[in-house]
Amino acid sequence: MVDTEHVLEQMRAANPAPSLEQLAVDDLDLVRNFVARERSTAATPVEEQPQMRPDPLGRRWGVRPVLVAGLAFVLVLGTLGAGLLLFRGFDETAAAGFTCPPGSTPDQPGPANQPGPPDNGPMAYEDGFESSFATFDAGSGQVLMLMGDALWTFDVCTNIWATAPGPPWTTAPRPGNIGYMMDFVYDVDSDRAIVFAGYDDVVRVGSYEPATQTWTVKSEFVVPDSPFLWLKAAYDPVTGLVVLYEPFMSAMWIYDVDTDTWTEVDQGSPRPGSRAIEVFSPGDERNGFQLNEVFLTYDASVDRLVAYMGSTWEFDIRAGRWEEHATDTNLLQGFGWWPTAEEFVYDEANQVSVFFGDQVTTYDASERRWTPQGGIYSRDTRGVPPMIYDPVNERIVMTVGATNELHYRRWPRSGVIAYDVATGEWITLLDPTTE
């Protein structure tokens, strides 16, 4: 346990400028001279330089006055311009978000053996398989986890599961229902969680409004002649719209839930190839291929979609252009091992995208670098459940189970853990239900 008061006291003692009275008068003289000079330089054409005392540090403005005055003019304008830009950026990024109510204990495990999502589920390749997808409702500080026809919520301030109304259809792949679930994404702009599902050439869409706990079935989206569809979704906070990538056809659309409209995106060239691989499957045209996984997220630090598809790709949504970066796949153990449902999410606080297959690995888009993290947690125990980024507590949250005794026949979801990328620390938010 970290004693935060003691830490703060240590920091207080290490203050590099502990007392205003101790500040060097010479330093302030330099500031005064500089300000006085630059003000006059910026306000009027340079006529003559004020007499300066010899600069003991040989600072730049004491060396070549005319040149420096010109530079200073540019500097002042540049500073002003940068200041204006930064003011804009500061205001945009400082929007107040949801915070846990006073007295909350988000780091303490939630009540043991509370009702939660069922641990046991059918095998992935049985008809009743219910995959689960999660997203985060930043408006109320809740994880939304969709499992088949059930919606579970997990409060990250109290670490308690609750149920909410499920969608008005089931997501198991039986005729007449919505089909396979593909992705679940939160649209911050419209305060709705959107699920994309379907099969063959039909995409079915449902939107969930947490404030009213109501579902709305949206129009079906049909892509004629497509033998198969599999959509990965990412929310673009700049446009407030959802971007969907389809790896079989390498197609991309933007979806506006408010108007229920789809717009195809021109991705330019080069772009990622199909992730489908032909496999021999006699008597079943639809299953004549295998689709390798795609991991997709929006990375705000570079304003790009970041995707892993055998190599790392970044898509500039504004310019409509892909860029591919070679990737050491040894760093990414577990990628593509469907159906482990490894997830890939953007961690706003640390400005990296986080992948979790066999271990946590982060992608820093600003440096185009993957880095394995210290925390390792076996997928055998984690099973297939999803993970999300929790902006309230600034960490990754994922569900887990208690045992891998029934590996491949058990899809544990009741336990919840968090991973803090900044510290490499795992935190138990809820112990898995024991049987």
């Binding site: 590099p16 502990p18 490499g424």
Partner: protein
């Protein structure tokens, strides 16, 4: 549109008052984030922005917050990078501003402790560093920090608490104590 002579005189007087009132605070703010030479530049640049935007500077005591925010932008724009942040730590190691008037051994121990804290602070993410500096070094009330950062005082409580925990972990890691990276769950027979 230029200012009239009267306007200029008023602006000049306002600027002089602001400068006289907050010069040291702004310099200290910069000095707590970047090295001495950079802090002098940062202070000057901050007041130059204030001069050029004098009509934007609040007339009440929130002027200091405006100046802190401007200084933060100046630092972010021109100085803040890992390398330069490291330079501050190195500079402080070599020549700490703190005047420790104790015994020489105490000074040495004190400096080592401070260096450890500054090293650990340097490894935190910028948002954590900033909220801790504002709370601990600038000693701003959490309500005012919230106004600076665009969040509630309660949110600042949480951020400071979390950032302090992370700083503590960094200090423990540096001290060679178990840093808490061990997973809580180990799969039986797992990888």
């Amino acid at each position: 549109m230029g200012m009239s002579v009267v306007d200029e005189a008023v602006a000049e007087e306002r600027f002089r008052r602001i400068y006289a009132a907050y010069e040291r605070q702004v310099y200290a703010y910069c000095l707590r984030r970047i090295d001495r030479d950079q802090a002098i530049d940062c202070t000057a640049d901050t007041f130059l922005v204030a001069w050029r935007r004098i009509s934007d500077v609040p007339a009440d005591d929130t002027a200091l917050r405006w100046l802190y925010r401007t200084a933060n932008h100046v630092i972010g724009d021109r100085y803040r990078s890992r390398a330069r942040s490291r330079a501050l730590v190195d500079a402080l190691k070599a020549n700490p501003t703190t005047d420790y008037s104790a015994e020489p051994e105490t000074v040495v121990v004190r400096r080592e402790a401070d260096t450890a804290v500054l090293d650990a602070l340097d490894r935190l993410r910028p948002a954590d560093q900033e909220v801790l500096r504002l709370a601990v070094w600038e000693e701003l009330p959490h309500r005012e920090i919230g106004e600076l950062l665009g969040c509630s005082a309660h949110a600042v409580d949480q951020r400071v608490h979390r950032a302090a925990k992370r700083l503590g972990r960094q200090l423990r890691t540096r001290a060679g104590v178990a840093s808490g990276v061990t997973p809580r769950f180990d799969a039986p027979g797992g990888e």
